[in-house]
Symmetry: C4
Subunit: 278 residues, 4 copies
């Protein structure tokens, strides 16, 4: 039986293997994990094909349980060796790790829920961390920052869009009516969203002259309005990208806004302080 000190060091060893990516064992663990995640997603996709023979479904069902058991063991191991267990369990990846294995267990009671396990595809996002793709992380954070900065504008925009959809949907329900597929206001609102976002399935489409005129107005509105989120995101992206690499200003003249690779101030020619890797 190990002493407390030994157990702690054992936990620390496994923590390095499971959570870090800088030891040989840790890297082997990571590669096996990615293969298992991709394998389990492929299993699920194949299993949903209606053309497979029953024997193939039985084999895939076996694989699914194999992967689920693996992920269950991995989740328990993560919980066991995490420095702060509650923090891991409540973190983004902790929740995803749990959601990835729950559906298969629940399917013992509710068979239909199995396919919800496809949420485990989200675990693949870990690949960015594993491969130390700091460049990707920086870019992802620029994108995230831009979207966060744009959140108020986006909420205002969404609200306006939903209001327009409600009003146009109700009008179309009155104009076209059930005989042309607009069976209720919610259905007409669904049609308005399909039209305004320029998806345009064509499962429901206006047939009267007035309805087509209103639909044309909605399409042109939707076509023009797509400019708004694009403009918002472009502006915020430029801002957040501008904020990112500007950390250095000239010690002599105070000029900032230098390129990431500039070594001298472009205003007065003084040498700029050295910057760390971005």
């Amino acid at each position: 039986m190990p002493t407390p000190t030994e157990r702690i060091s054992e936990r620390q060893y496994w923590r390095r293997v499971i959570f870090d990516h800088d030891t040989r064992a840790g890297r082997v663990f990571d590669v096996v994990l990615i293969i298992a995640i991709l394998g389990s997603v492929a299993t699920m996709l194949l299993d949903s094909l209606p053309t497979l023979p029953p024997s193939a479904h039985r084999i895939l069902y076996g694989f699914e349980w194999l992967f689920t058991l693996l992920f269950t063991v991995e989740y328990i191991a993560r919980l066991w060796c995490a420095a702060d267990r509650l923090r891991y369990a409540k973190s983004f990846y902790g929740v995803i790790d749990l959601l990835a294995l729950l559906p298969t267990w629940i399917s013992l009671v509710l068979p239909e829920s199995r396919f919800l396990g496809v949420v485990r595809v989200v675990r693949v996002l870990r690949i960015f961390r594993i491969l130390k793709m700091t460049q990707y992380m920086t870019e992802a954070s620029i994108l995230t920052q831009a979207l966060v900065a744009a959140r108020y504008k986006i909420v205002v925009f969404m609200f306006t869009v939903l209001t327009a959809v409600s009003v146009v949907g109700s009008l179309m329900f009155l104009i076209e009516g059930p005989e042309h597929g607009f069976t209720s206001i919610p259905t007409a609102m669904y049609w308005a969203i399909v039209t305004m976002t320029t998806v345009g399935y064509g499962d429901i489409s206006p047939a009267t002259t007035v309805g087509r005129m209103l639909a044309s107005a909605l399409m042109i509105l939707g076509y023009g309005i797509i400019a708004v989120p694009t403009g918002i995101v472009t502006m915020e992206l430029q801002r957040s990208a501008k904020r990112m690499p500007r950390a250095v200003s000239c010690a002599k003249c105070g000029r900032d806004g230098h390129d990431a690779d500039a070594q001298f101030c472009k205003e007065c020619g003084t040498a700029l302080p050295v910057r760390g890797v971005l």
Copy 2:
């Protein structure tokens, strides 16, 4: 019977409750109002479903009148206690408040008009004011300002688009003809709008080779042309956002809206106070 002074103070009391959002009674009123608006919209959506039993329609009809009576009382109260009655009646919210209750009353004569009452969903926009979301108001005003600044460009653009739609629609009417669904020039123009905005229902689509070539040209045009409103809005958004957050105003003439790098007031030439890093 209250003296005139008392009545005025009573009006003032109700004005604070109904129009302001900073007293306890005022906030309770706001929450009840939002719930009533959302409830009345939900009632209308449910009532349009064809699958509900007649008894449910009767109950929903009752609810609709309940909400309409509430809104009628509220509208009269707002009119009664508004500081400037005509100004309220002619304001954006005053008109919406009236439009929200008229359809149900009119439906006593014209039953079909009931569903027009869905316009009351617009009243939900009040929520931004109620929750004191000044941040949202600023963002909404940046968006509005950008769209207002872009209005000339948008009119020119729309005019060009409509001209292109007319010409292409007429050509397609000649090329494809009624046997492929292009039954008239207005129908062909409707098809041209559906195509150019990339909605593409597929209820009408070209079947001849020449028609498909013209349609392809129109699609690529539409695909490229969507860049124009996007470019316009992006540009105006950047401009109006640039003007917005400069909190500095001239100490002498009070002029604000200076560029981030301005050192002197552009109106009167006085030196501007130094600003911190943005």
Copy 3:
């Protein structure tokens, strides 16, 4: 019989009425012209409706000839009184004026060509000139300038898109084949354009697994690639808008880039020269 001098002055009088917009007679002429253009376009749209009774078609046919005769007289009058006749005949509006009346005359021989006359809707663009909407003209010229500046990029982009469409179209013809609607390579290229521009009629759609995977790749490509023209136009718009109102630079420090309403240099505080109305 008028002397040569009188005839010249008569020509000058009519030239002012027809080509200029600053006399009372000229303005009356303009309003009548716009009404006639809109009326003739409406006549043509109505005439194409298949549901009208034959008597209505006869009346509309009469109106069409009335407008055509009017436009013919107008065209001859313009030719007669233009300062430089050849220049007018070869100008944009001169060509459109001719194209607007030719189809009806040609329809005496080729009845089908009548509806080509809808090109006369382009004449409505004159309204911008008539109403002296210089603001619109400036904006239109910013848009045009941006598109002209972007022409090389757009040609390169179009070429790349057409190459992609050819390759994907041929592949889909091989993969899906005639049984799923891809009856020939041109048809498959038409489908590729419909898909890449995100129009998506659904008259032809892939049914095999490989075809759907290729189609998904094309959709995502098309979805991403729409960013390119948008980016190009946004950039050029910003550039051409920037060039427009920047005409003033500070006489003392040479700083330019002042706002349109700036009266003092924002760098050194010197008064800026007065600018004309934009």
Copy 4:
């Protein structure tokens, strides 16, 4: 029999004709080549039409072999006279030149592969080089540079989109099921891509209320998310265009790519020559 010196000069002569565009013979060669490429592509498109009579197919088949033999001779000639043969064979155009003729030869064994030869349309891109359209080359390189600079952001974005498609696809498979066309998870993912990219064929569309609500959410997401690649490309285009036209390079260290307002080299600190107004 020519001496070695003569053979080399003969190779050099043909190299100038085939690879360069500045001699008369070279320009004739280029024009013939472009015509042959366009002719061979047209042959292939026509040959795929099902409505042609068998005799036309026989003629087109003859043309196809004619062009293929021409291209084969050209490829051998290019290989023979290239300065560095391996480098040509491995270059972009070398690979395309080979791919353009292989399918016809392979079709002797696998008849279906013939139409893959349409890849020879890519050879038309040579036209930019032939016509010495350096302006187009600069613009193409700005576009390429912008896309290369945006590659990390685009990968992150694509990954997020694919994850969303997987999750929504699986949910829709559970909600709608095979009876509404969502026969498997891969099919549902195909539908999710069709919807999210706003293509919207309508071959598969949701029919249940819950499915339509989820579809609406996906559409609005896709509609908003299109802003992200657009924003990325716009930003990178502006950056790469900003870097491009600065013709000034440092007199001491040769570094170029300075900002428009830089007065000193950012690499070595030497003063830069004064530039004219932009």
